[in-house]
Amino acid sequence: MTQTQIFHDSPADRAHRVKWFSGRLAVYTLLILWAIICLFPIYWTLTTSFKMAPDVMKGNMVPWVDFTPKWLGWKSLGLSPDTWGAESTVRAEFLKRFANSAIIAVTSSVLAVALGSLAAYGLSRFSYKFAWMRNSDISFFFLSQLILPPVVLALPMLVLYKELALLDTRIGLILLYTLSVLPIVIWIMRDQFSSIPTELEEAALVDGLSIWGAFVTIILPIALPGMVAAFILSLVLTWNEYFFAALLTSTHSNTLPVMVASQTGSQGISWWSMAALAWAAIFPLIIIGVVLERYIIKGMAAGAVK
């Protein structure tokens, strides 16, 4: 190994390498910086939920180095190890909200995916004529619902729900949430169905299946990834919805975001319990995001590229 090096990189090559290196550096700096921006608030909330008042005031950040983690925040929610067995009204309240959120989000997403997939399939395969509306008009009618801001529906709905005794019920919220995610589901599913060749159904029909039979047994399994993507996206949107929930519910069917928001108004905020609550509210979504990231990206990318 003592031989002298015979082949040298020419100066031009070395300059190239420096450039390549600085390019790498810039890309990674950007990526890491943004990853910190994205993750730090989540980290901050998690650590704050384990802090005591002086730790919060001093702005300590690293557990076990700056401060000793305490279960204070989780205790006030009734979710810490030592309060787990005991009765806790706060925990009951929290679990009720959590259940409300889960039921409403799942039901409305299922409804939206069912209605939306059917409509998207029909629109991608058959030509309709309702009065003056043809396929493209019907598609536009569905997708244009996306533009409708919730505030326009909110007050008429409030009055209608009052008359229909649907205020502060889960069904009322489920209906509105289904409506609000339906255009997105149709958008994704239309893309999905139009990428499936019609020859598949033609073969199935020749073999004696009915249209619905072919749809259920042949097409649905193929379109399943798209449906999962639409479902997850709907789930995220409905879980996070605040505006309608704040207007249309009061005591029985409050969702988690309403609970989180109602705590911030009180004076003398107890940072640790707020942090615990906020973290409990976002935790399911973090799990979904990490595990099902592929589907979410697929869903959002649908329709972007034609």
Binding site: L31, I37, G122, S127, L148, P149, Y242, L256
Partner: protein, 368 residues
Amino acid sequence: MSSSGDLLHVVTNDSISASRKTFGRVMIWGSGALMLLVAAAQLLHMTGSAEFGFENWRPTLYTYITWAICLCWGQVLLHGEHGKRTLFVLPAALFVISLTVFPLLFGLIIAFSDWNLSSPDGRSFNGLENVRQMWADPFYWNAMLNMVWYVLAILVEYAIAFALALALNAEIRARKFFRVAFLLPLMLSPVAVSWMIGKSMLEPRFGPIASLGRALGWDDPSFFGSPWIAKATIMVMDAWTFIPFMMIMILAGLQAIPKELHEAAKVDGANGWRAFWEVTFPMMLPVSITAILIRIIFKLKLADIVIAVTSGGPGGATDTVTSFIFREYRDRSNVGYGTLLAMVYLVVIVIAMTLLMKFAERISRPRT
């Protein structure tokens, strides 16, 4: 997507008996008549000219649902196979119509009335009084103007999202980790985000960002003190949640560009900056426009962050139209005025979006 003619050609030979057709018609019209009957009875009950003992409008709702089911079933009875095709779209169409068109029509009535839900007198028609009040309401126009600023902030978001998408599209390690990390803000509920960032991290005394600001030489970091800083803070928080959304759409577009194009550009001597402006950016124009348009639609609904963090303050500087109407209702429970404001907002949005889409179509059309 082609819009004329069935993509799936089905030849059916339906023989529908006359009695089945009659049954179908009777069912649709019968349930429709029942609905109208119940609705009329309820209306009479409401106006007080007859006593039926209704507590709420539920009976009408139930007959409406029955009618909708009968209508769907009737399609199959009347038209056989063709009816079964209609069945794909009809439920969704009925659902959307009953939940948007009907409330919108109802909203039009409310918009021109004076109706305070907390006062006992109920609704009274007051013509254009609400319009006059709106015209003289500086806070509403202020909120509209804020929306323009908020929408303009999308351009910055777009630039950042594009840069991140380019970085993610480069040859990097741990791509999966970065993708998940970048996606997370979109998943979190805006209300929790507004607590995490708006209340906790931006807390002027001990919040980490305030500490950072102090370390960088900002003596008195207050993020919601002056109007413009407050507005910018809201913009940043909203951007934080929604940049992943644009980023993913742009990333999907970037991955769809054929590699050969970059290679050809390289052979032709375009490198780095030039290749970006002359190849990548023009190729990405349609995707970018879709992403920006959808982002604008979402931005126009912005409310939860504002409601939860500043509730419009200081002095309405951060108000969005939605949060303004929300407070208008919360504080004064004035349904009539709030609805009118929302309706005007809808009209403005529809006009603006139509113009924008026309404009977008013009730029994205390939030049000859």
